[in-house]
Amino acid sequence: MKVKSIQCKKCAAPLSLHGGGHRIRSLTCEYCGAIMKVQEDFALLGQFKDQSHPDCPLSLGTQGTIKDVLFTVIGTVSYRSNYGDSWTDLHLYSETHGYAWLSYQLGHFTFTRRVRYLPSRNMKQLSPREILRVNDQPYQFLEAYQTEVIHVAGELTWIAKVGDTSILRDAISPPFMFSQEETENEQEYHLTEYIDPEAIDANFELEYDTHRSFVHPAQPFKAPIRKALSKASLIPMALSVLFMFFLTLLNMGNTVLSERITHSQMTGGLFVQDFTINNANHLVEIQFDNAYGSRFQVKDITLFDDTHEVFTFGKKLKVKSSTISSQQGTAQFKIKKAGKYTLRLRAITTRKWANSDRITPYISLTIKEGVMNNRYLKYLFYISIISFLLFYISRYFFNKKRWE
């Protein structure tokens, strides 16, 4: 691309023409703001005074590739919206693909080009989140706002003036945004695509802070690790559900003791019963249910072999409040060997049984052998669910920020 130099007609600063094609109408001096009419031998049209230079990591003449096409930054126009936010549109030119824009706003880059197709609905009449179709793709209407030109430099295909206003209406389908730009004389449509700042960084050989402080409306949600984790978690989730289902079927075990212990079966608050465990390979489960907490309070359930204590519910059964009306508990534990064992249940009577009571209060107690525990499968299921949902929850909050 040929680069031609001229002197500014106002301040005589050397200005480079970066080869924008025959449609270039104006050249604005980046130093003094003088506007020159390109097709009339750079005749002076006016001057932008007190332009504030916008923050942008790309400057006039910078070259780089976007979508495998080489573009040169030939001009810049900065805008401010009626909401107070500002951005810079870099006017790009490619010898093969013509004109386009690269917009920069607080770390975000978008690539925009003019399109000739029209939206399926009148964008003037749409409210946020309403659906319209563009080129057979669904878009959600985002917002309408007014823009004002606040800075101009370099070559442009039109004559821009500071203070020029236009109405923009945006609809999004990340990473795309479809915009209608309405000026006094015309209505144009543009397709914008969000460009990863790292790609601009690499393709334009820049070094700048790619930190982005807000979610751009066209920014796609990217969380490859969380997405992969979410997908991968489906396997353990399905397996854990499947195994839990089978374990529930197999988990029945064999009942070796089943008692309804009434007050009359206790001696001095103790119920003692021998039983035999034949299967020491799997877990033993003790399950008890005291629905009559106002009459009994189970204080301790302990299992003994010949000489030693094998298991005790112990602290779990301590009653903290006298108002407790029921007690329940299940415990699974391993025993070393099959054989004869003794159960000792200790309970205190909180209210004596009266002759007028029509129901005899009791404590249900069941001991099973050959029980398999699905606790770790439950943990796996919970972890899988969290891993699965993490991506969707993050995406939900990301999309929420997009609309703020």
Binding site: G21, H22, R23, H97, G98, A100, L118
Partner: protein, 210 residues
């Protein structure tokens, strides 16, 4: 390279020239740059032309490309100059053997096919002097807006073309734009009006093959 439908020999240098387009009316010898008019009874030498300077382009003579799953081969091109610059018209042959014109003007690409106009069609086309920019007209039951009125001056050509052209020929034209990206080009020639209808195409959708 596309398959040749037949061959001719350049009367100037004897070079064998493959013709891709069956109904080619003009070709330029790739060896001596002579312009050859292809007539029913033979080939007529129409003089030499200066070689067109090479300008970067997405299209290249003889290099096939695809657009929306249809393959095309550019077989000829014409460069026109207008008020403020130039543009190129590429004559491309599609899969079906039909020819189309692709206009390329600084990244604006449009594909158009020639319309067969009968006398009633021609009668319904307004004269160029009656048209002005921004005017909305009804043509063949559709509404069109006049978006460009200009003249193109032929600066040169290359390859095979479906019509006879001469360098410095001036083509007055009018562009009409439709509501959904369609367009009509009306060419007001000394020999009569020619019309082309088509649509804008996205250069990012053009994929070079091979």
């Amino acid at each position: 390279m596309p398959n040749a439908s037949h061959y001719i020999n350049c009367p100037q240098c004897g070079n064998q020239l493959p013709l891709t387009f069956q109904y080619a009316k003009l070709t330029v010898c790739t060896h001596c740059d002579s312009t050859l008019f292809i007539e029913d009874d033979g080939v007529r030498l129409a003089g030499k032309q200066s070689v067109l300077s090479t300008i970067p382009s997405l299209l290249e003579l003889g290099s096939p490309f695809s657009y929306h799953k249809t393959s095309f081969v550019p077989v000829g091109k014409v460069r026109y100059a207008h008020t403020i610059g130039y543009w190129e018209e590429w004559w491309v042959i599609g899969n079906s053997g039909k020819g189309f014109w692709i206009s390329v003007d600084e990244g604006d690409f449009a594909v158009e096919k020639p319309l067969d106009l009968d006398s009633r069609d021609v009668a319904s086309i307004p004269s160029r002097d009656d048209l002005y920019l921004g005017q909305t007209i009804t043509l063949w039951k559709d509404q069109w807006q006049v978006t460009e009125i200009d003249k193109g001056k032929c600066e040169g050509f290359q390859g095979e073309l479906p019509k006879i052209l001469k360098v410095d020929d001036v083509v007055p034209f009018v562009h009409l734009s439709g509501q959904t990206g369609q367009l009509i080009t009306l060419e007001y020639l000394d020999t009569g009006i020619e019309a082309f209808q088509g649509e804008w195409i996205d250069p990012f959708e053009i994929k070079r093959e091979g």
